[in-house]
Structure formats: structure tokens, C-alpha cells
């Protein structure tokens, strides 16, 4: 179309330009510039999209690998239960000095002199402090382990992890980096012995909040997000569909329904943080619900998602042709039967697509959750939506505020996980639309 139009213009214009200048060159130059602006604009947009994704992925793909150190740990009775009173006092096993076991094993493995304290300290710093709970849980779960030597896979400390992944520039002066030369030598020594190695990081999927990057994961936050999504789905889908059916099919056209319509359109554009204030004032202060609980987050996100679902559902109901309604009514169905037996099933793909997109938005929402106290340091999996929990995007926010290099990696890793969820949901919506959409 474009080509034909421009060639015809050119042919007819050619003899003219020789005689008098009507600025055709200038005009075509302007045309080319205008096009170039358009192309530049689109490329800028796509460039930023690519840059954004590249930043996240290049920073984050390493988070799915974790350096571990496998050491033969000797659970000596002298350390775990020096006074031999574990049968009578249950607390002994919980409070024993487990790091000592790690130290002994490490000293033996590296062959360093146990009396040189600074060296020993440097060596033990290579292993994550989370090994204490790991060993404790092992012993508590199975006290018969005491006295035996068992190979245990421990997490490497975050800086060693970074160094082993090659993220720390070892040419920098030793005093300016957190990994010392001695530690690097040991690291390489351990790696050669096959003791220290990289493996797939299951921890990032299962752990909860932790101040130590290597022991921090999104598992707990993901469960909180899952609770909230469940609440949003269970509440917003039926309420949204019911509201749309009333507004689209039953409501008389008057000022009140006009007001509701304007109102819903506005609610869709209210800043999400305002919903957080609403949740704080109504659910927590007025109704006395617990702070930080997934149930409050779910309610707030439900209110936020409802307008999206209502707008999508109304569009889907509107797209069902009136002939379907007339046919059903003509055969003697009541209005309610017409809608629930015929119109609604036909509108279902559109409704579900809108719902999934609304859920995806709710999943990535952070701001309102900050206000209802979900910025919490939650270590354990919440057993129910009433217990304190946090959410995936909030976890990302909290990690983004941490200064350590290893947390940047974790943050990006968590973002990748979040984005994968969103991509899956949106792909589902697209597939649903492709598979079931009908053109009337």
C-alpha cells in the first residue's frame, strides 16, 4: 500500500520537479525522518525491554547454582553431649556447639594447625553459619548418629560462593575484598579434592528469609503468595462474574448503574498503594485481623483485582451475540436460565483470560503489601493464611535493600522465578484465548 502510493506520486512528480521546486525533496526528507523517529521509538522500547531482561538474567542465573562443601563430620559425643545427659535434658542437643564439629572436620581436611586461631577462623568462615542448624536438625532427628562419622554437604559462605563462581575480581588488593588469598588457596585445594563443588541450588526454592544470602530462599514467600492467589481467585472470580452479570444483563440503565460503571473504571486506575491504606484501616485496625497475615493480603489484592475482572467479564458477556439470548428466551428459558446455561458458558474463555491476567497483576503487586505488614522476616512456612507470611515480590523488595553482592544475585534469581510464574500465567491466558475464542 505504502509503496504503491509513493511510486505513483514519484512518477507524476518527476517532470514537475525539473521545472519548479515545490519542496518535494524536503517533504520526502521529512517523511523519512518521521519514519526514522517511529522506528527509533519502537527500537528504544524494545532495547529497554532487552536491557531489563538481560540485567535480571545475567545477574540472576548464577543464583540457581550453589557452592557446597562436603565434609566427613564426626559427631563426637564430647562436643554434642559433653556431660552425657541427653536422655534427661532435651535441650542439650539443641544448644550444643555444632560449629566446633565443622571446624574440626575442616581443619582435618585442610591439614592446618588447629592451634593457629586466626587461620582456623579464616577456614571456618568459608562455611555458612547455617551449618549449625543443619547439624542440629540431623542430630535431633536421629540421636543415634552421635559417635559416627557421616559425610555432610554444607553450604559455602556467600563470599566463597561468589569467588568460586568467578564473580569476585581476585586481582583487587586483598584488603579491599572479603575473600582472603589464603581462603582462595584453600578453595582451590578443596575444589581439586572434589570436596567443594557447584551444584543445582534447591535452597533458593525451599528456604525462607535469612540474613545470610546462601541460606536465603523464596520458598516461604512463594507459599505466602500462593495463599494470597488462592484467596484472590476464590473471592474475586465469583464476585466479579456475579457483579458483571448483574451490570451487563439485569441492571436498568439509570444514573445509579452509570455511577457504578464510572466507579469501577476509576477503581481500576486507583494507585495500588491506596488499597494498602484501605486494608490497613479497614481489615487490620477496624476488623482486628492479624498483621502480616496472608488473608489480609488476599483481601486487599481481591479488591484490587475485582475491577479488572469485572471489566474483562463485561466485555466477554457483551461479545456473546444477542441471537443466542433470543433463541434461549424463545424456547421458554427464563432470563436467569438463558444467562447461566447459554451466555455464561460461551463467555467463559474471555472471563478466564481476564481473571488470569488480573491474577498475574496481583502476583507482582508489592506496594499495598508493604503497608499491611508483610515486610516481615519470616523463616518458617506459614501453616495457614492466618499466620505471618510474606510474598514473593515483597521478598524481592527486602533483598533489593540488602547491600551484599550475593543478595543482588539472589534478588535477580527471585525475580527470574517471579517472571517465570508470570510468563506461564500469561501464556496460559493466550493459549486459552487462542483455543476457545469464538468469532461470531
Amino acid at each position: 500500500m505504502t509503496d504503491i502510493a509513493s511510486t505513483t506520486v514519484r512518477i507524476s512528480a518527476r517532470p514537475e520537479t525539473a521545472k519548479r521546486d515545490i519542496g518535494i525533496k524536503r517533504r520526502y526528507a521529512a517523511e523519512r525522518r518521521f519514519r526514522a523517529y517511529g522506528i527509533a521509538a519502537i527500537s528504544t522500547g524494545l532495547f529497554f525491554l532487552a536491557l531489563l531482561l538481560w540485567t535480571v538474567i545475567s545477574n540472576g542465573y548464577t543464583a540457581f547454582q550453589q557452592t557446597t562443601i562436603t565434609l566427613p563430620i564426626e559427631f563426637t559425643e564430647k562436643v554434642v553431649d559433653p556431660k552425657g545427659e541427653r536422655a534427661t535434658d532435651g535441650k542439650v542437643l539443641l544448644t550444643a556447639n555444632y560449629p566446633l564439629l565443622v571446624r574440626d572436620a575442616l581443619v582435618k581436611q585442610l591439614g592446618i594447625d588447629a592451634s593457629k586461631r586466626p587461620q582456623v577462623k579464616q577456614a571456618t568462615d568459608m562455611v555458612s553459619a547455617s551449618s549449625r542448624t543443619l547439624l542440629r536438625d540431623m542430630v535431633v532427628a536421629d540421636p543415634s548418629i552421635i559417635g559416627k562419622t557421616v559425610p555432610v554437604t554444607l553450604l559455602a559462605e556467600a563470599n566463597i560462593d561468589s569467588a568460586f563462581k568467578g564473580q569476585i575480581d581476585l586481582k583487587v588488593d586483598e584488603s579491599k575484598r572479603k575473600v582472603k588469598n589464603q581462603q582462595v588457596t584453600w578453595m582451590n585445594q578443596l575444589a581439586e579434592a572434589g570436596v567443594l563443588k557447584k551444584s543445582f541450588n534447591t535452597g533458593i526454592f525451599t528456604f525462607g528469609a535469612s540474613s545470610r544470602p546462601e541460606a536465603a530462599g523464596v520458598g516461604v514467600a512463594a507459599l505466602g503468595s500462593f495463599y494470597m492467589m488462592l484467596i484472590v481467585l476464590v473471592l474475586s472470580l465469583p464476585i466479579g462474574v456475579a457483579a458483571s452479570i448483574y451490570l451487563e444483563e439485569f441492571a436498568p440503565k439509570n444514573r445509579l448503574t452509570d455511577l457504578i460503571e464510572v466507579n469501577i473504571n476509576n477503581l481500576a486506575a486507583v494507585p495500588s498503594i491506596v488499597y494498602g491504606l484501605l486494608g490497613l484501616a479497614v481489615f487490620i485496625n477496624f476488623a482486628g485481623m492479624p498483621r502480616s497475615a496472608a488473608v489480609v493480603g488476599g483481601f486487599v489484592l481481591t479488591l484490587m483485582t475485582l475491577p479488572t475482572i469485572i471489566i474483562a467479564t463485561r466485555a466477554a458477556l457483551k461479545a456473546v451475540p444477542p441471537s443466542i439470548r433470543s433463541a434461549a428466551l424463545g424456547l421458554g428459558a427464563s432470563k436467569m436460565q438463558t444467562i447461566f446455561h447459554h451466555v455464561l458458558p460461551l463467555a467463559m474463555p474471555g472471563i478466564l483470560t481476564g481473571t488470569i491476567i488480573g491474577l498475574a497483576h496481583a502476583l507482582g503487586e508489592t506496594a499495598p503489601l508493604l503497608l499491611i505488614g508483610m515486610v516481615a522476616f519470616v523463616v518458617d512456612y506459614p501453616g495457614s493464611p492466618m499466620e505471618p507470611s510474606t510474598a514473593l515480590p515483597v521478598q524481592i523488595y527486602m533483598w533489593a535493600n540488602e547491600a551484599e553482592r550475593a543478595f543482588v544475585e539472589r534478588t535477580s534469581g527471585a525475580i527470574i522465578i517471579l517472571l517465570i510464574f508470570l510468563v506461564v500465567m500469561n501464556l496460559g491466558a493466550i493459549l486459552l484465548r487462542r483455543r476457545f475464542e469464538r468469532r461470531w
Binding site: 505504502t2 517533504r27 520526502y28 521529512a30 517523511e31 525522518r33 519514519r35 523517529y37 517511529g38 527509533a40 521509538a41 519502537i42 528504544t44 522500547g45 529497554f48 525491554l49 531489563l52 540485567t55 535480571v56 545477574n59 465469583p238 456475579a242 457483579a243 458483571s244 448483574y246 441492571a251 457504578i260 464510572v262 466507579n263 473504571n265 476509576n266 486506575a269 486507583v270 494507585p271 498503594i273 491506596v274 494498602g276 491504606l277 484501605l278 484501616a281 479497614v282 477496624f286 479488591l303 475485582l306 475491577p307 469485572i310 436467569m336 498475574a360 507482582g364 503487586e365 508489592t366 506496594a367 508493604l370 503497608l371 515480590p393 533489593a400 535493600n401 525475580i415 517472571l419 508470570l422
Partner: protein, 494 residues
């Protein structure tokens, strides 16, 4: 009986009622369904609704009302020494009594007797059962707690009996109504319609809730700080919301926050509008269908990315990049490698927010540009105008009101955006015009004032609601005006 079990029982009664109603209507039909006014399923649903709905409503009302009544009665039984200390002390004592009451249920008979005779320490006894008590606890609490427990038990018993009775009575009443010519379908449909209306009123309730909750909390704030000081104050320095500090100890000036909000939104629009608009024009007027079908969804991916990801992007990429490049530039020009752009600055936040807004501008404008009738385009091209001239002189003027509406909607997004500015704009409330320095926004301060442990009586936390209502009014105004323009414009060509 626990509430969830009671709820389950109601559902079971409902099921039984459904089948009872259905069977009865089938029996009444005499083997010929056409004898019935409504299908048997409707009769069943009618009976089930009568069995479940009133019982559930009573249960709900009871659950709300009973604790209020029990609390009131328990409060009255507290000794006068506590009553005379004012409402706060009574509230505290009530909380303690409740935890004592929870603990009493776990005690054995002898332990209870020991407590009542005063020979055992209340706190120690309860602690051994895993109930932590804040404070020592007084002997009177055991008596009051026993009263509380007795009332709770009676209440549960009464509630269970009443609810089950109502469920059964409703079912029996309804089943007696079932008759061959009974209009069960109309009754059921009326209930469904009612629930549809209730659902659609939630949208209204949300708005009412937003406005009412913010107004009441902001009202409390304005009793402590004068509205004049808030709306026209130029200094934002709220101090800490320390417990017991009481009274207004800081300054709550809205102006610096508003200035930061508008400035950052302005920079973002400056960035997003040209890019978004040109992208929309190119896609609507020039792009081949193939390019359009790939570029448009790709750009819209930007709109689907959570804002926290943009915030992170600003924090680790854009901010440091601007800081370093400004240091290099400064070094080249003056020899002094001092960065003149801060990592957290108006510019950083503005650019990243602009990236987020590109797809809003482009899709909204795209919709509006493609709505301009074909005839206008063809007429202009037919007169010999180039495509760009057509766009500039015909299409854009025709689409202008709609585009302005779209830009206003985008601006309202920019004003209400939170996570990007929280991570990229900084927290210092300053009034200045240098875009390379950090400024803060209304949304950042709402988050700042409301995270952490709070006390809901201090102006430091309540100010968040005053900020919230300001934000709500601004975005609402922008939205209503934008929707009005867009709607009006759409009608022109229809």
C-alpha cells in the same frame, strides 16, 4: 462446637434439604414432570436455600455480636480498682484475663483449686502450660477468667442450638411450601438476583471504604496538625513515631513531597510520551501487519513486568550507570572525577518510570489513532499529502482529545507509582529543581511512615492517610477527566 464444624453441619443440612425438596416435588408430580411449575431441582434448591441462608446469616451476626457482648459483660465484672484507672487499663486487664482464661482450660482440677486459694503463683502455673502472661497477673483475674470461660461456653452452646434450630426450621417450613404449582424457580431466581446485586455493590462499597477509612483517619490527623500546616507547609520533618511522644512534634508539609511527585512524574512523561507516541504512530500507520503483531505484544510485555522489577533495575543498573557516566563526563570536562548525578535521583526514577509508561502511552494512543476514520486518511493522501503530513495535520488533530485523555491516564499512573520511587528516588524531602539530586514522593512517604512497628495514635503514622487521600483525590481527578474526554471523543465517530 467449633464454628467451622457448625458451618459444615449447615451445609450438610442444606444437602439433605435439597434432596428432600427434590424427592417431595417428584412425588407430587405423580410421575409427570409437566404437572410441576418448576423443575424438581428448583424445588430442591428452594428448600436448601431456606435451610442454609437464614442459619448462615444468624451465624454471621452472632459471631460479630457475641464477642462484643461478652467483652462488655467481662469488663463490668472487673474490680473497681481497675475500672477507676481509665479505659486503657481496663483494655489491658481484659487482654490479660483472656489469656488467663485460655490457660485455665488447660489446668487440672487441683491446680485450679490451688490457684483459687492463692497458694500457687498464677504466672508460673500458666507458664508451665505454655501460656505466657504479660505482667504478673492478679488473683481477681482467675475469678473473672472463670466468668469469661463460663460465658463463652454458654454462648457457644446457645449459638449452636439456635443456628441448628433455624436451619432445621427453615428447611421444614420450605418443604411444607413445596406443591405442584408452587413457583420454586421464581423464588430461587429472586435469591440469585439478590446475590448478584450484593456482588455488584461491593465495587461501590470499596470506594466508600476507601473514602471513609481515609477520611476518618486523616480527620484524626487533622485534629493534631492543622490542615493549613499540612497542605501549605514547606518542610517535611515528621520525626519518629516514638511511643508516648504524644502531640505533634514534627513538621508535616505536603509541598516538598508533592513537588517531588510531580517532578518525577513530569520527567517520566517527558521520557515516555515521545517514545510511546511515535511507537504508536509507526505501528498504526506504517508498520506491516507482521511487524505490528510482534512489536506490539513485545512492547506490552513492559506493562506486565511488576514494578518491583523496575525498581531493582533502577537500583542496580540505571542508577549506577548514570552516576558513573556523570563522573566520567565531569572528568573529561573539568578533570575532576566527581559524579554530578546521584545514583538515587529524580532522573533515575523518572527514566525508569518512563520505561514502564511507554506501553501505556503506546497502546492507548494506538487504539485512539486506529479509531480515526479511514476516510480522513484517504482524503488527505488523495490530495497529495505524504503519510507524515497526513499524520501530523489530519490524524493527530483528530485524535488529539483522545490522546490527551490517554496521557492524563498515564500521568495518574506515574503519580501513584510506588515501588520504583521507593527504590530509585531517595527519601530526602527537599524542594529543589536539579533533576540529578534525589527527591521524594507522596507514595514513598506513605510507605516510610507505615512500615515497622506502629502506633495508630501518633500524627507520624496518621499522616500517611492524609497523604493517601491527597493522592487519591489527585488520581481520581485525573482519571475522571481523562475518561470523560476519551468517552466524549469516542462518540464523535460512532
Amino acid at each position: 462446637m467449633s464454628t467451622s464444624l457448625l458451618l459444615l453441619l449447615i451445609v450438610v443440612i442444606g444437602f439433605i434439604a435439597y434432596f428432600a425438596g427434590r424427592t417431595r416435588s417428584l412425588a407430587l408430580s405423580g410421575g409427570k414432570l409437566s404437572n410441576l411449575h418448576s423443575l424438581p431441582g428448583y424445588h430442591g434448591s428452594y428448600v436448601a436455600i431456606w435451610a442454609m441462608l437464614p442459619a448462615a446469616l444468624v451465624l454471621g451476626a452472632w459471631l460479630i455480636a457475641a464477642p462484643v457482648y461478652i467483652d462488655g459483660s467481662t469488663r463490668a465484672t472487673l474490680p473497681d480498682t481497675v475500672q477507676s484507672q481509665g479505659p486503657a487499663a481496663v483494655q489491658l486487664a481484659l487482654g490479660q484475663v483472656k489469656s488467663v482464661a485460655g490457660g485455665l482450660l488447660r489446668l487440672s482440677g487441683e491446680e485450679l483449686a490451688a490457684l483459687e486459694s492463692g497458694s500457687a503463683n498464677l504466672r508460673a502455673t500458666l507458664a508451665s502450660k505454655g501460656v505466657a502472661l504479660a505482667g504478673e497477673g492478679d488473683p481477681y483475674m482467675v475469678t473473672v477468667a472463670k466468668h469469661f470461660n463460663a460465658m463463652t461456653a454458654t454462648n457457644r452452646w446457645l449459638m449452636t442450638a439456635a443456628v441448628l434450630l433455624i436451619a432445621v426450621a427453615g428447611g421444614v417450613y420450605a418443604i411444607r411450601n413445596v406443591a405442584a404449582r408452587f413457583r420454586a424457580r421464581n423464588q430461587v431466581e429472586r435469591v440469585i438476583l439478590g446475590s448478584l446485586i450484593v456482588a455488584s455493590s461491593i465495587a461501590i462499597l470499596t470506594t466508600v471504604g476507601i473514602v471513609a477509612s481515609m477520611l476518618s483517619e486523616a480527620g484524626r490527623f487533622f485534629t493534631m496538625v492543622s490542615p493549613l500546616e499540612f497542605f501549605f507547609g514547606t518542610v517535611w520533618d515528621p520525626r519518629f513515631a516514638a511511643a508516648g511522644s504524644g502531640g505533634a512534634s514534627g513538621q508535616f508539609g505536603l509541598i516538598p513531597l508533592l513537588a517531588g511527585t510531580l517532578y518525577i512524574a513530569f520527567v517520566a512523561m517527558l521520557f515516555a510520551v515521545p517514545i510511546g507516541l511515535f511507537a504508536a504512530i509507526y505501528m498504526a500507520e506504517y508498520a506491516s501487519p507482521r511487524l505490528r503483531s510482534t512489536a506490539k505484544p513485545l512492547l506490552e510485555v513492559l506493562a506486565g513486568i511488576p514494578t518491583i522489577v523496575y525498581g531493582f533495575f533502577a537500583l542496580v543498573t540505571v542508577g549506577p550507570f548514570l552516576r558513573d557516566i556523570s563522573a566520567q563526563l565531569n572528568g573529561l570536562l573539568t578533570g575532576d572525577y566527581q559524579n554530578f548525578i546521584q545514583a538515587q535521583s529524580v532522573l533515575t526514577a523518572g527514566i525508569v518510570m518512563g520505561i514502564m509508561l511507554i506501553p501505556f502511552v503506546s497502546s492507548l494512543s494506538d487504539d485512539i489513532i486506529t479509531q480515526v476514520p479511514r476516510a480522513l486518511r484517504d482524503g488527505s493522501l488523495g490530495l497529495g499529502a505524504t503519510r507524515s503530513e497526513t499524520v501530523k495535520k489530519v490524524i493527530l488533530p483528530a485524535a488529539l482529545p483522545g490522546i490527551v485523555g490517554a496521557l492524563l491516564l498515564t500521568a495518574s499512573r506515574a503519580v501513584g507509582e510506588t515501588m520504583i520511587v521507593v527504590l530509585a528516588a531517595g527519601v530526602a524531602a527537599r524542594m529543589q529543581i536539579n533533576p540529578f539530586e534525589p527527591m521524594t514522593t507522596v507514595t514513598v512517604k506513605i510507605v516510610n511512615q507505615l512500615t515497622g512497628d506502629l502506633e495508630f495514635t501518633s500524627p507520624q503514622t496518621l499522616v500517611a492517610f492524609a497523604l493517601g487521600i491527597t493522592l487519591f483525590v489527585i488520581t481520581l481527578g485525573l482519571n475522571i477527566y481523562a475518561l470523560y474526554i476519551v468517552r466524549k471523543y469516542r462518540e464523535q465517530y460512532e
